[in-house]
Symmetry: C2
Subunit: 346 residues, 2 copies
């Protein structure tokens, strides 16, 4: 479309700094005739301390008006663990039914990896975003006593599994290698595991060109460090996806360059794009954060909205910048943003 | 004690081959006056196909008579996923209350790692073994229909968490670095997460010399490949422990050398020792499997039974063999076993 109405949530810690650079690059890449409107929201630790609120129904109504959401990072040590995660991040993913959590991993030439021998890494994880152990189902009895019992319920539905598995097959079909791996733990979590496996095998029949594969989540972590080239597209549950995408980010250049999209493919609600990294309070405000992950999240956002050429330009700019990085002096957050903006404006 | 009455379960695939070498080294290391009695059990795929049984109450009564159990590997593609895992491996861990699942990771000099720069790795994971998402609680409704719902319930009790946390603190206290890291996902799995965190913090007060730390499981996978030296002892839940110990094995020399103990510290039931690797049916019967993980599991077994000097000798032998390995021609399973037996008999 010829206009983008964007909700911007810088959030906490380095979120502020990296989002500023993301917007800089976004403005630079958009053609003159695409009108960009942004509205900033102050969600996160400050709002929570000031009002006790994380995300209200009125907030959701406002956010809903936008074409997409760009988020920096949410989380601060001053807020008890879980409050902002469950009260903001997960609440938003669930409210806007962000069931496709897309996390590409690509080791770009010249980029440092902790792995020896510079392996080929180019895969994308399709993480389910609205089910599994993330639903908040469960509870405690005899809380705080020596007889406490705490449960967490992983909820998996045929509806929820099938839609994300279909999304992953379509993505695998569209890639040159056409390979899809299901990652689960179906030998232990047999109820959910059989549901995932049965639906995966059923949908596979509709995609005869896609090669399929199953790997237990524990074995997947081994392959990610010993044979990452074996993966093309991975589809997995919410918690396994959380774990393996952090590892995937680490081996493919670090969380400084790992982007993600929380996508509602139906378009019923705006999708949200955010770097995989957190708010990193230890380095906040010092201009040390790498904005590349946010800039790459902007590329995912543009692709989601149909601006493929602009998304390509951003990805190429980040690749070029990373390839040059070894030879560049250490740069600040905004210097990297400036360099990327200059490249995409090209 | 001056006698060891051992139950031996070779199991499936390479289990047979590696257990034979484990026993060879065990016989070689024991002093003349320690009487070793072994009884072999045929659990696994063959028994299942022949009788439909995985592990009966009568089997458990028999196994209970032994001082310890040595297991090779259980699992075969001819058996549906989950049948032997839930019906044998997990059934045994639960029946014998193996709540301390001990998995040491040490990168020995000269051993190949997928990580660049040969980092220092020397930590031990204390994985809870009888709770969490492994309990088999959960189920399905509308099974096989488009409206199926499958749940998996993670069950966590103050009793179960406290005993494993205490075990981990005691282990940390006994190590030179005295550091203990809790790995969980307490910002999302808040019910179980708060229980783990509260108990961890409470027990910490009794161990003022132990430095404590908390890391989310997703971040833990990053540290395992970027800063593995930050870990000394890790305590974690059953599923997180399963995942991070496979990754830990991969970065510290591979699953060919990763040992584990399923321990009941009370001694009410025999503890079980097994390599972390599986039955590897693709290489079974070819003499290609590395028996070192099983041999190191024998060392854990000896240490558990109070034969520390013999455990040390085995660990030293494996270290020496691994250090030499680069210079050795490729050897078969039994050649490695012979070499280790010769060293410990020294
Ligand atoms: C902060 C947390 C709720 C979140 C998650 O677990 O999904 C984060 O780790 C991520 O991966 O986006
Ligand atoms: C085979 C399986 C049941 C087992 C587990 O998940 O515990 C294995 O992966 C392990 O780590 O011992």
């Amino acid at each position: 479309s010829r206009s983008i109405n964007l909700a911007v949530i810088p959030g906490d810690g380095i979120g502020q700094e990296v989002v500023a650079e993301g917007l800089k690059v976004l403005s630079a890449v958009l053609p003159q005739d695409v009108k960009l409107e942004t509205k900033e929201y102050d969600f996160g630790a400050r709002r929570y301390h000031a009002t006790g609120e994380t995300l209200t129904d009125a907030d959701l109504d406002e956010l809903k008006q936008h074409d997409a959401i760009l988020l920096g990072a949410i989380g601060d040590p001053s807020v008890p663990s879980g409050v902002l995660e469950r009260g903001f991040l997960l609440k938003l993913r669930f409210a806007f039914d962000h069931h496709v959590n897309l996390r590409p991993s690509k080791l770009l030439p010249g980029v440092a990896t902790p792995l020896a021998g510079q392996p080929e890494i180019d895969f994308v994880v399709v993480r389910e975003g609205t089910e599994g152990p993330y639903t908040g189902n469960g509870g405690t009895i005899r809380t705080g006593t020596p007889h406490e019992v705490a449960t967490e319920v992983s909820v998996n539905t045929a509806f929820g599994v099938e839609r994300v598995v279909r999304d992953a097959f379509a993505r695998a079909q569209a890639r040159p290698r056409k390979k899809l791996t299901l990652v689960h733990k179906n030998n232990v979590l047999t109820f959910a595991g059989h549901l995932w496996t049965n639906i995966f095998n059923k949908v596979a029949e509709e995609y005869p060109e896609v090669t399929t594969d199953y790997v237990h989540v524990d074995a997947a972590t081994i392959y990610l460090v010993t044979q990452p080239e074996r993966f093309d597209v991975i589809v997995t549950d919410n918690l396994f996806g959380d774990i393996i995408t952090d590892l995937a980010a680490a081996v493919s250049g670090g969380i400084g360059v790992a982007a993600s999209g929380n996508i509602n493919p139906s378009g019923a609600f705006p999708s949200m794009f955010e770097p995989v990294h957190g708010s990193a309070p230890d380095i906040a405000g010092q201009g040390k954060a790498d904005p590349s992950a946010t800039v790459l999240s902007v590329a995912l956002l543009l692709r989601h909205l149909g601006h493929d050429a602009e998304a390509d330009r951003i990805e190429d700019a980040v690749s070029a910048d990373l390839a040059e990085r070894g030879g560049l002096p250490a740069r600040s957050t905004s210097e990297i943003g400036d360099a990327l903006a200059a490249r995409v404006a090209g």
